[in-house]
């Protein structure tokens, strides 16, 4: 989307109305405010442009920003839906002091096209207050002076408490500080004093950093290049052990693994392994790599190996069962090994489907991503082979006595039918354009048993299958 010059607002559909979620300066200048109904806002400002907000995308962006903010300090947490809290204890001197750090942060974010408000103080509460209702840095020990003149909402209080305080004539933080604590508690509960103490540092408040996303990769650099397949496999084994340990800790299993082999000449070769089932058992995964590794061209030697689980699925611990486990594991390993040659998508299994249409009475599913399920029901005999309908020269409503099919001259000996199958009108299918079909089982005197159909609506005869 292009940037707009005029008043602009993001709206969020809440409680059955569209409300303004966020707005720009020109819109604020027109007297609009956050939380206002969109219909009211349009009445104030007819040329207001708006778009629906996407809070999920905002949250994702905030997380990315939090990762970026780690360039200033390792301790970065989220604050509300639009803020970050950085604990820069012991990190400010790296940027030449607190003010310089803040300046650097502002410069970089402004260059990226973001509007930023920031505050820096001894406590998280005071920094929040300064960021939202003032600017700049509160030097160490000066917190009280800096937030004293700020309005009451700067203490992060619920809206009804703020309203009540303002009705009593308590407009600034200083007004509250001068009152006896006991009366405040009796009137407003402990919440107000807790916020006050947090802002002044009398009560601790921690910045909880975001957890690092688990990474399932391991890397190894070698002092001397290697070239033998056995050596590469030995290196892979070590990396695989590390990756599998991490997978076990996270109760996850790898679906796809990528082994990158960097050669001395900086070119790199990749071996991809897609598994038929999520796995974290190094002893089972390692032999599956053999085929890929043996095909690698080592050139003048390989001096760096990197193994990454590119696709990871949850794999909770399961109770060991002596019955099927070993055999099923073998089958899955076989599917993986065949898949590494012809592609995992080319190993199928059949699943029953609920349809009278012969070619839709089953579905094919990729074996690696499905389990056998459902019961197979055959109400009438069905052919063992199906092929695209092959027209034969015949007329009439009953199968012909003599006909030619695939350059064979056949004569009908016994017919069974007809079985009428109507097209499924709720599905578009070009091959069923010809309308109803009357299916016949035709046993020929020559032996072949064919499944033929007649289309009474657009007369014609076709062979579609063959019985045993």
């Amino acid at each position: 989307m292009r940037p707009v010059d005029g008043p602009f607002a993001l709206t969020l559909h809440e409680a059955n109305t569209d409300r303004i979620y966020c707005l720009n300066d020109p819109a604020e200048g027109q007297g609009l405010s956050q939380g206002m109904g969109l219909a009211d806002a349009r009445a104030f400002c007819p040329d207001l442009q708006s778009r629906p907000a996407d809070p999920a995308a905002d949250a994702r962006f905030l997380r990315i920003l939090a990762r970026w903010a780690k360039r200033y300090c390792p301790w970065v947490g989220l604050d509300g839906r639009d803020g970050l809290a950085l604990d820069i204890t012991g990190a400010a001197h790296l940027y030449g002091g607190e003010a310089a750090l803040l300046e650097d942060l502002h410069a970089r974010l402004t260059r990226a096209g973001l509007q930023v408000r920031s505050g820096l103080a001894d406590t998280k509460g005071a920094a929040w207050a300064i960021a939202h209702y003032a600017r700049g840095v509160a030097p160490p020990g000066q917190t009280r002076n800096h937030i004293a003149k700020l309005p009451v909402p700067a203490l992060r209080l619920p809206e009804d408490t703020v309203t009540a305080l303002q009705r009593l004539g308590l407009r600034t933080v200083d007004d509250i500080l001068t009152l006896p604590r006991a009366t405040l508690t009796r009137r407003f509960g402990t919440d107000l004093l807790m916020r006050l103490d947090q802002a002044l540092g009398d009560q601790p408040e921690e910045v909880s950093p975001l957890p690092d996303p688990p990474s399932f990769a391991a890397q190894m650099s070698l002092p001397e290049p290697i070239g033998l397949a056995a050596d590469v496999m030995a290196g892979t084994e070590r990396l695989l052990a590390q990756v599998c340990t991490r997978l076990t800790q996270q109760e996850a299993g790898a679906r796809a693994l990528l082994l990158t082999l960097r050669r001395v000449d900086q070119a790199s070769q990749q071996v991809e392994l897609r598994l038929a089932r999520p796995l974290r058992d190094a002893a089972r995964i390692l032999p599956l790599f053999e085929r890929g590794v043996s095909a690698v061209d080592a050139g003048f030697g390989i001096d760096q190996l990197r193994l990454e689980a590119t696709q990871v699925e949850r794999l909770p611990a399961r109770q060991l069962s002596p019955l099927h486990a070993a055999h099923q594991d073998k089958l899955h390993d076989l599917i993986t090994r065949i898949g590494s040659r012809i592609g995992l998508d080319n190993v199928h299994r059949y699943l029953p489907a609920d349809s009278h249409i012969p070619e839709r009475s089953y579905t094919t599913a990729v074996a690696a991503y499905s389990d056998p399920s459902g019961a197979w029901v055959t109400l009438r005999p069905r052919p063992i082979r199906l092929f695209p309908p092959e027209p034969i020269a015949a007329t009439g409503h009953r199968p012909p006595r003599h006909f030619r099919w695939r350059r064979m001259s056949l004569s009908t000996a016994r017919i069974t039918g007809p079985e009428r199958i109507a097209p499924e009108w709720w599905l578009q299918d070009d091959s069923w354009r010809s309308g109803l079909r009357d299916y016949w089982q035709v046993d020929t005197r020559q032996g072949r048993r064919l499944w033929m159909y007649h289309t009474p609506q657009t007369p014609g005869w076709y062979v579609q299958g063959e019985f045993a």
Partner: protein, 198 residues
């Protein structure tokens, strides 16, 4: 004395050696494969080339064996087919590997399949075009459907190559209740049909 090789009765009193590579040809070869799958009663890997228009119908297969145990591998050419078949035979994960071949198979390839079947303790069946088999196969069967007034599954199974016995032929029909192929007595001395044939 060497232990006799394990075998299974494909027809009553007609043993077929397990863990070997067998071949079947003719228009009724599919039914032979299905019967073998039904007799072995375990996971089956069915390998065919992806361009072949004639698809296996699992609904038809369910009259013989359980389609839930059937895995299909679709390859791009015969080289891949043979490689996949060998892999599947060596893995000892399925009971039967059915390979649909479209071109003649060399003695070397046939021998490799035979060795893989013996190593992996898995039975192999190649569905071959007429006259394109390999000499390494244990047995070769020609299966042709035959018309019969009373029965729609009648077929004639001839054994046309046999490393461990004699050549012979049987008229067979499928019994869906017991899921077995039954041998039909040869025409002429068949009880109950004497007056029908007149």
């Amino acid at each position: 004395m060497p232990k006799p090789a394990p075998h299974i009765d494909i027809l009553p009193d007609v043993p077929l050696r397990l863990n070997r590579c067998h071949e079947a040809c003719g228009p009724g070869a599919d039914a032979f494969a299905f019967t073998l799958a039904a007799r072995l009663n375990g996971p089956v890997m069915w390998i065919s080339e992806s361009w072949t228009p004639a698809q296996l119908n699992p609904v038809g297969y369910s009259q013989y064996a359980d389609p839930a145990q059937l895995l299909m591998a679709r390859t791009k050419d015969q080289t891949d087919t043979l490689a996949v078949a060998e892999e599947a035979l060596r893995a000892h994960a399925v009971r039967l590997v059915v390979t649909e071949l479209t071109q003649p198979i060399s003695l070397l390839a046939g021998r490799r399949l035979q060795l893989a079947a013996e190593t992996g303790q898995t039975t192999a069946l190649c569905l071959i075009p007429q006259g394109m088999g390999s000499n390494a196969a244990d047995t070769r069967w020609r299966c042709t459907p035959v018309f019969h007034q009373a029965d729609s599954t009648q077929a004639r199974w001839e054994i046309i190559k046999n490393k461990a016995g004699t050549l012979s032929a049987w008229d067979v029909r499928w019994d869906e209740k017991t899921r077995h192929m039954l041998v039909v007595p040869p025409a002429g001395n068949r009880p109950g049909l004497a007056d029908a044939s007149g």
